[in-house]
């Protein structure tokens, strides 16, 4: 998933404005949005489509979560509880663990007035596999293919859905994946009425919705705004917000002005400077929430120097985690060194690496490089990344490693990274679905390290890191039925990864949402899901 970040010029401009704001008299809220309407300022220019079978962007997930219901879902007010029944009232797993039978819940209705049945679920999941769009891997990893969906995803009647898996996967793994955007159930009849050239309604669902969630899409203007209205057929508890309007506001300083003026209820993309500026404003509050995005650097193991474990260890000890967290990343990121974000099943809090230049220097000498070496760091053109790169440049320089920052656009940096042509790459990674395998399967899994394998989706492969034993352990974890045992497997895997991998995971993202004091229960989705407007009150 990608998100745009403002350019340096814009940030400088924003900083100037912030300075002006701080020196000016406090603005007083002069407007107020209606009590049953939620108005949000946010960057939403990442939305390409809102078809749940294709949508794979942050803002698109925000819409889908409020418009479509999956078979199982997270309670926004208790995310730690994990998946709960939603369109599926219950499920049973076959003795051999390869078949899950869902019994549909009663009373769910699409916006069209059509009742939600198992046939709709069958259609939606089959459709996602058949369309074969980017997020389809979330489902096809269970063995579903366009050729076999008619046998593997079956609704024998309107109340029952059967999923036949190619292995006895952990139920938690399968159900966690079904909570993702791609698991949203669409109204088969309505969608197929809008089918064009056999696209199963893909073009129509790009900017229309046909779900059974609390809201329906009233309008979407790309790069401008979207509006959600209450789904009149929704049978659950009626949300307090009858209408949700999200405006695309690129600039943090502009979002802040709107919030202070009372023109919006929530501002979702404030810079640390603007968040700090709100401390003196009595009418608004800032709510921190841990998200799933991790910031890390990794070393290409094709490079002879970087393939030396002592060198990597030295560089990990020469990284100033705390210094960065307390300065330019303050409030935006927290130090986190394991590949599973906090709040995920199996997540650990271990932070074995702290800045220790003496130890780093000793390790480098031990590795045979007492005078250091030269290295390049590929960095995307975003201020926080450049700041981190400069910090690495500084601390690595103190142990003799001369690092050169190679700054490029996201696409340029990604191309180099995928082609295994980098030396050090400074990157970010967000989970694709709320199961530990989403990160274990990319950081700690690489069954074929050859160039010919072309496994560009695996971060371990991108760094040419062969890890046959850990790959086996990762595979073993996805078929472990005992959830507690499974969680323990991921804990062990992460500790081994931290000690031996050419990855230095540094930080986990904190999202800071500023809102009017009266806004309650706004949950951006934590590390596992997206925003839930239906829970909001004000």
């Amino acid at each position: 998933m990608t998100r745009h970040t403002p350019s340096r010029t814009m940030r400088i401009g924003a900083a100037l404005l912030t300075a002006a704001l701080l020196s000016s008299t406090a603005l007083t809220a002069q407007a107020e949005t209606p009590p049953n309407m939620l108005v949000i300022a946010q960057r939403i220019d990442d939305i390409k489509t809102i078809d749940p079978a294709e949508s794979f962007e942050f803002s698109g997930a925000d819409i889908s979560r409020n418009v479509y219901e999956p078979l199982v879902d997270f309670d926004p007010l208790d995310l730690d509880a994990g998946y709960q029944p939603k369109l599926a009232a219950s499920w049973e797993v076959s003795e051999d663990g390869t078949q899950i039978t869902f019994t549909m819940a009663e009373g769910h209705v699409f916006t069209s007035g059509n009742p939600v049945t198992a046939k709709d679920a069958e259609f939606s999941l089959r459709r996602a596999v058949l369309l074969n769009k980017t997020p389809s891997f979330i489902l096809t990893q269970f063995g579903f293919t366009p050729e076999n969906v008619e046998e593997t995803i079956v609704a024998p009647d309107e109340k029952t859905l059967v999923l036949k898996l190619d292995k006895a996967y952990a139920v938690s793994f399968v159900l966690n994946c079904l909570t993702a955007t791609i698991g949203g159930i669409v109204d088969m009849k309505t969608v197929m009425e809008h089918e064009q050239d056999g696209d199963m309604g893909n073009a129509w669902l790009r900017d229309n919705t046909a779900g059974s969630g609390p809201y329906k899409l009233a309008s979407w203007k790309p790069n401008e705004s979207y509006t959600l209205d209450l789904n009149p057929e929704f049978t659950g508890d009626a949300p307090a917000m009858k209408r949700v309007i999200v405006q695309h506001i690129q600039e943090s300083a502009t979002q802040r002005l709107q919030l202070e003026r009372g023109d919006v209820d929530i501002a979702r993309n404030l810079s640390p400077e603007d968040v700090a500026g709100l401390e003196s404003v009595d009418t608004v509050k800032v709510v921190d929430e841990l998200r799933g995005r991790l910031m890390y650097w990794s070393a290409n193991q094709k490079n002879e120097i970087l393939s030396n474990p002592k060198v990597i260890e030295a560089m990990k000890y020469a990284t100033d985690y705390q210094g960065m967290q307390d300065s330019f990343l303050k409030g935006q990121y927290i130090t986190h060194q394991a590949f599973l974000p906090k709040t995920f099943m199996g997540a650990i809090d271990d932070t074995p690496y702290t800045l220790d230049l003496e130890k780093a220097k000793a390790l480098l000498t031990e590795a045979g490089y007492p005078d250091g070496f030269e290295v390049t760091i590929g960095v995307r053109e975003a201020q926080d990344r450049i700041d981190i790169g400069q910090s690495l440049q500084n601390t690595w320089g103190q142990i003799g490693i001369k690092a050169e920052l190679v700054v490029g656009t996201g696409a340029q940096t990604l191309d180099t990274y995928r082609a295994r042509q980098h030396q050090i790459s400074l990157e970010a990674w967000g989970p694709d679905y709320p199961d530990p395998n989403t990160n274990a399967g990319t950081f700690a899994y690489n069954p074929d390290n050859s160039d010919e394998a072309g496994a560009t989706g695996l971060l371990a492969w991108r760094n040419a890191w062969a890890l046959p034993e850990m790959s086996e352990e990762t595979l073993a974890a996805v078929v472990e039925q005992d959830s507690a045992k499974r969680a323990k497997m991921y804990e062990d895997l992460q500790r081994e990864f931290m000690a031996t991998s050419p990855f230095a995971i540094m930080f986990q993202q904190i999202e800071q949402n500023a809102m009017q004091n009266g806004v309650e229960h706004f949950v951006a989705g934590g590390a596992t899901t997206a925003v839930s407007y239906w829970a909001v009150t004000k």
Binding site: T2, A14, D45, T134, P135, F137, K221, E224, T254
Partner: protein, 355 residues
């Protein structure tokens, strides 16, 4: 008796075929077509030779190799560059600019949506720039060295040296944030969205057509600040150029003669000197307008104004080349059209140009 008449040049020349106007029109059309094709070619090639992968822009970094290969073929990237360009031009001639990978909509539809926003803003900005800039420039020239001239220079200096981004931010802070005189970012308040049907895409015009004065007032309240900002930059440019043109005229002998003849200063300045700079001013104003129509990216970003400038910029950053190319064609066409219009006005105002 027979009379033989020979045309020795003293009579009227027989009309040539094809007529001159047709020749000129064909020549003009040819020039325009070549210009646009060249522009398209350069933009297309830059997009293709950039060291970034257009397939990844479509499918994202998580897609499988099979999905990558499928999109690679769908985009026609397996064909030679020149063939790809030929296919693109063929599609454009049929009005198909491709589909934006960022919005998932046809580029033509996207441009039809964003261009009116820029047109409305740029037109209002240019109007403000002309209405205020031309008289200021004339007065600065007439009262050279006076406080008016100093003011004109100061405005010009600030206009040239201040970053538009900073001025925009300050404008929002003061007039929206502190004083509350104008509405905030965007084209329309959220409560007015969808109240008037879209006919021209120009919100002010659509509101007038619908007779909805509440929407008109709200749209005006949103556009006035960015339009004033753009108008200010036009004003700075136009007033400086006007002053410079006028100074040249006011030092001419015919102006001295006119004064000696006892003509009033008003007549000397406005009926003689100003009339002679009108031709040059047309080019200046056309260029200023074209620059604003090109899309003032930063202004559009600060004011969350959904115009073509921010559309093309965001598309470029997302490697959405179909949108970039579509936008480039539109802007190129505007430049060419404004140049032609400027030429035509030249001919209209300057009898020498007709010959």
């Amino acid at each position: 008796m027979t009379h033989q008449t020979t045309n020795t040049g003293g009579g009227r020349a027989a009309p040539s075929f094809p007529p001159n106007w047709l020749k000129k029109t064909v020549s003009l059309a040819f020039t325009v077509a070549i210009t646009l094709l060249g522009l398209l070619f350069v933009t297309f090639m830059i997009g293709r030779v950039m060291p970034i992968d257009p397939v990844l822009a479509v499918i994202g970094e998580r897609a499988s190799q099979a999905q990558y290969d499928q999109v690679y073929l769908e985009l026609g990237l397996d064909k030679p560059l020149i063939v790809q360009f030929g296919i693109y031009v063929g599609d454009v001639l049929q009005g198909d600019f491709g589909t934006s990978i960022r919005t998932g909509k046809p580029v033509a539809e996207d441009i039809a949506r964003v261009f009116p926003a820029t047109l409305e803003l740029a037109t209002l900005g240019t109007l403000l720039g002309v209405v205020l800039g031309v008289p200021l420039g004339v007065l600065a020239a007439v009262y050279r060295g006076s406080w008016i001239d100093q003011l004109s220079r100061l405005i010009g200096l600030v206009g040239y040296s201040m970053p538009i981004f900073w001025l925009g931010m300050m404008g929002l802070l003061i007039f929206y944030g502190i004083l509350g005189w104008v509405a905030g970012p965007g084209r329309l308040g959220v409560f007015y969205e969808g109240l008037v049907p879209t006919r021209t895409g120009l919100l002010l015009v659509d509101a007038i057509i619908a007779g909805d004065w509440d929407v008109f007032k709200d749209a005006l309240s949103h556009i006035i600040l960015p339009a004033c900002l753009l108008g200010y930059f036009s004003l700075a440019y136009i007033s400086r150029m006007t002053r410079s043109f006028m100074l040249e005229q006011l030092n001419s002998e015919y102006v001295i003669t006119a004064r000696v003849k006892g003509l009033s200063e008003w007549n000397v300045v406005w009926r003689h000197a100003f009339r002679n700079i009108a031709i040059q001013l047309i080019t200046v104003i056309a260029l200023a307008y074209a620059n604003l129509l090109e899309g003032s990216v930063l202004t559009e970003i600060i004011f969350a104004w959904p115009g073509i400038g921010s559309y093309i910029t965001t598309s470029l950053l997302s490697n959405d080349m179909a949108s970039v190319l579509g936008g480039t064609v539109v802007i190129g066409t505007i430049f060419v059209c404004l140049n032609i219009l400027s030429d035509l006005l030249y001919r209209f105002f300057d009898p020498r140009a007709k010959s």
